[in-house]
């Protein structure tokens, strides 16, 4: 629009061999502007983001121009880029699990980044690290700085990654799905934080997200990407009110909303999963305390709760990955470890749960091979990839050649490979854009109805849970604070905590969301 644009991307092309991930993209971000970049999973959002800072793998070929102010970043030297990185432009990576160094504490990592651009002493850097962790809403930051990434929950890792990006107060933050792993309350805090940064410091934000609620809540302008090309961009209100492209319309239509599904019938079958009095401690910290939960055959139970409340821990206990300190977990009436052929598990971090050296086909076929499933494994793999909407030619790719959402779908395909009787899914759709998410949810519903498998569906996305689950359990600080039929828990919550959660769900409508935020109206879900 003007020469004062902070970031000007023009004619950006990125390809990996034959794969053209970004095709002639033009985009600008003005100072203090929040631009949302949305689009289907695999449409090139993350690649674009990485291209800006020259962080693509060596296999990538980049053409076009990326101007930061007047400074050309494409083809710039490593040292020139280094000065820009972190200070002028910071980046929040999509998959926090692999974005952090496993062998250093998070505090150390933040301090190292702080010291990269500022001559801080070790102590001040340490103190600042604690401050930053506090800023992104990590409870008890003084202890957490000393934790290693594997000791944090998914959402906590994501917040650490955000803290890394905020460390040097950059002019532009490129945030790639910064809130996917966050429950709605924390998400709201982070969004508030970002907004505050923009308001106070004039920080511009290039926000990559599939969450239309977040877009509606935060963005000034929205750009829609489809298969590497920009298909539409407009101010947020305009786009939501009158999307011009069919694709955008479909995207908006696919956004799940709370309370749109009819109440499900109660289930009374035998238990597929039964947890009784499960308690898990990590050192002094009690992650779960005497949790009781059961999932009947053919039933979908949604497990919601704030980040760090113990959802994944519970999932891991159910899957037999973790032995509880007290209590028992029974899967299909036996020990989880003996029932492995009959249940599927979707990990919260799709990236790190795939062997980097195996092809996608090998990853998906692994359960078939392990259990010597009858039939043609190739055909089955093709079928599964198709079901999660991955093109067949992805079969020969390696995990690192996939986008975040694509990897997540590989995880789902793998979990479904053996037609399980029970599916334990830890945030299975967190990295998926609404349209793909809708089809995955449709797939799960369809399979569920056909095959009648049971499912423990862990998610922080209440709308998604509402559209799938029969029953919902709410976890808070390692305890189940409420559970019951989905429509009751999510529409007429009784526990104060649940109510807070439900209220924090952003509305996929900028006007309504703004109104709610500013407290002008209380629009019910």
């Amino acid at each position: 629009m003007s020469t004062t644009d902070l970031l000007t991307i023009s004619g950006l092309e990125v390809s990996f061999g034959d794969v053209r991930a970004v095709r002639g993209l033009d985009l600008t971000v003005a100072p203090g502007e929040i631009l949302a970049l949305v689009g289907e999973s695999g449409s090139g959002k993350s690649v674009t983001a990485r291209a800006v800072l020259g962080l693509l793998p060596p296999t990538a070929r980049v053409r076009g121009s990326v101007l930061l102010g007047t400074r050309e970043l494409v083809g710039a030297g490593e040292e020139a880029l280094r000065e820009v990185r972190g200070r002028s432009v910071a980046m929040v990576f999509q998959e926090p699990a692999t974005a952090l160094n496993p062998v250093h504490t998070v505090g150390w990592q933040i301090a190292a980044v702080l010291r990269a651009h500022r001559g801080l002493t070790r102590q001040t850097a340490r103190r600042d690290a604690v401050r930053l962790l506090d800023l992104v809403g990590i409870p008890d930051p003084a202890t957490r700085v000393r934790h290693y990434p594997h000791q944090l929950s998914g959402g906590q890792k994501q917040r650490v990654v955000i803290a890394l990006a905020l460390a040097n107060e950059p002019d532009l933050i490129i945030a790639d799905e910064p809130t996917t792993a966050l429950d709605v309350t924390v998400q709201a805090e982070i969004l508030a934080l970002l907004r505050d940064l923009r308001d106070r410091l004039g920080t511009a934000i290039l926000l990559i997200t599939h969450n239309m609620g977040v877009v509606a809540d935060l963005a000034d302008r929205v750009a829609v990407l489809h298969r590497g090309e920009l298909v539409e961009q407009a101010p947020v209100d305009e786009l939501f009110a009158a999307p011009t492209r069919a694709y955008t319309r479909e995207l908006l239509a696919a956004v799940p909303r709370l309370g749109h599904r009819d109440p499900a019938l109660p289930h009374t079958g035998a238990d597929a999963l039964r947890l009784t009095g499960v308690t898990v401690r990590y050192g002094d910290f009690t992650a779960l305390s005497t949790v009781d939960l059961h999932v009947a055959r053919g039933e979908v139970v949604g497990l919601v709760g704030e980040s760090g409340s113990g959802k994944s821990t519970l999932g891991r206990v159910a899957a037999g990955v973790l032995r509880p300190d007290a209590g028992t977990a029974l899967v299909l009436d036996t020990d989880p470890r003996s029932a492995r052929r009959r249940f599927g598990f979707v990990f919260q971090d799709p990236g790190s749960s795939l062997n980097p050296r195996m092809t996608i086909a090998e990853c998906v076929a692994e359960p078939l091979r392990v259990h010597r499933a009858p039939g043609d494994h190739r055909a089955r793999v093709a079928e599964l990839l198709d079901a999660v909407r991955l093109p067949a030619d992805f079969a020969t790719r390696r995990p690192r050649e996939l986008s975040g959402g694509q990897r997540q779908r590989v995880g789902i395909a793998r979990a479904l490979a053996l037609d399980p009787d029970l599916l334990i899914a830890d945030e299975p759709t967190s990295a998926l854009d609404v349209s793909v998410q809708a089809s995955i949810l449709a797939l799960l519903t369809e399979l569920q109805q056909q095959r009648g498998f049971a499912c423990l569906f862990i998610s922080h996305d209440l709308a998604v849970v509402d559209s799938l689950a029969h029953r919902v359990a709410v976890l808070h600080n390692g305890r189940v604070v409420e559970h019951g039929p989905h429509h009751e828990v999510l529409r007429t919550p009784t526990a104060a905590y649940t109510r807070r959660l439900v209220d924090a769900v952003p509305l996929p409508d900028p006007v309504a969301q703004r109104a709610r935020r500013t407290g002008l109206a209380d629009v019910p879900a």
Binding site: L53, A90, F93, V103, H104, H150, Q151
Partner: protein, 319 residues
């Protein structure tokens, strides 16, 4: 940590016992015994028999073993068949020399690897890469007995800068500068292949580590390239380097045999080599036991270092 070591203690003791049996039998499996050496080429059979009896070699092997172990347990290492003196004294002298030499070499090798490995892994300059490749190739391809001879010829004979071998006449502790002069050639000679191997390993594991996603994160935060390698990636690469270092301890002790001989450095390597060729059983037994002990300790340290370096192993928690 102490608890960890205590838990390992029983297995370590069992190993020492097994090793003692193995060593005892193995060196007796080598044909020929010390009596032949002591008797000399012109001795009549009676003389050999007399010597065997005097050394106790005519007794049943089990009795010999029990006698030896009994001695060990009561703190008596025995006497050398050939050198005559008490083994304790011999070993103490040799140990001081060998420890000085190997530790100096170790230090040299580790420092070299810590400097060159990261440089090699991170460099984009083809010349630096070639230079380091050449260093690695040369250090690995040149056996100690060649480097030793060349070092002596160049620094000892041609330039006459350093002594060609031997230990400081007045002892290692007398004057540090003199000791350093005597130490530098053998230490360099011993350290070179180890340095090459360590550098290679460190560089290669660092390259692997630099391909990880978290490196992108810190790059994105504008952390300097050098810093990424040294502060962020190195930690992840160290466990392999530590294992290699543990293995290279073997190379150091093995190399010491040759280096001590080339540089007339009277250490344990020389002693053990002599012991084997002259079938000086008591000496070999004690030295090999010492060597096994060192290895058990090195291995324990490696494991401890591993756990310390990788929190996922240390805090692995529940599985």
């Amino acid at each position: 940590m102490i608890g960890y070591l205590l838990r390992r203690l029983p297995s370590a003791l069992v190993v020492l016992w097994l090793a003692s049996v193995l060593i005892f039998l193995l060196i007796r499996a080598i044909p020929g015994d010390a009596a032949a050496v002591l008797a000399g080429a012109d001795a009549p059979p009676e003389a050999v028999a007399a010597i065997r009896a005097e050394l106790g070699l005519d007794r049943p092997v089990v009795a010999q073993y029990l006698h030896w172990v009994g001695g060990l347990l009561s703190g008596d290492l025995g006497r050398s068949f050939l050198i005559g003196g008490d083994i304790a004294g011999l070993v103490a002298d040799g140990l001081a020399n060998t420890a000085t030499l190997t530790l100096a070499a170790l230090l040299l090798a580790v420092l070299t690897a810590l400097v060159l490995g990261p440089v090699w892994a991170a460099t984009r300059n083809p010349w630096v890469d070639r230079l380091l490749t050449a260093f690695h190739t040369a250090s690995v391809a040149l056996p100690t007995f060649v480097t030793g001879v060349v070092l002596i010829l160049v620094f000892g004979v041609f330039f006459r800068l350093l002594p060609t071998g031997g230990v400081p006449p007045a002892g290692l502790l007398d004057r540090v500068d003199i000791t350093a002069q005597y130490l530098v050639l053998p230490a360099v000679c011993l350290a070179l292949p180890v340095a090459g191997v360590l550098t290679g390993f460190l560089a290669e594991t660092l390259r692997g580590e630099l391909r990880q996603d978290y490196v992108t994160t810190v790059r994105a935060a504008g952390v300097r390239g050098r810093e990424i390698v040294v502060r962020h990636a190195l930690r992840g690469a160290l466990p392999v380097a530590v294992t290699t270092l543990g293995l290279q301890t073997g190379a150091l002790l093995g190399g010491a045999v040759l280096v001590e001989s080339i540089f007339a450095w009277p250490g344990l390597g020389l002693l053990v080599e002599q012991g084997v060729t002259r079938r000086d059983y008591p000496v070999v037994q004690v030295l090999l036991m010492l060597s096994v002990t060192v290895f058990v300790v090195v291995q324990l340290l490696t494991d401890v270092a591993h756990a310390a370096l990788d929190p996922r192993i240390r805090l692995g928690g529940k599985r």
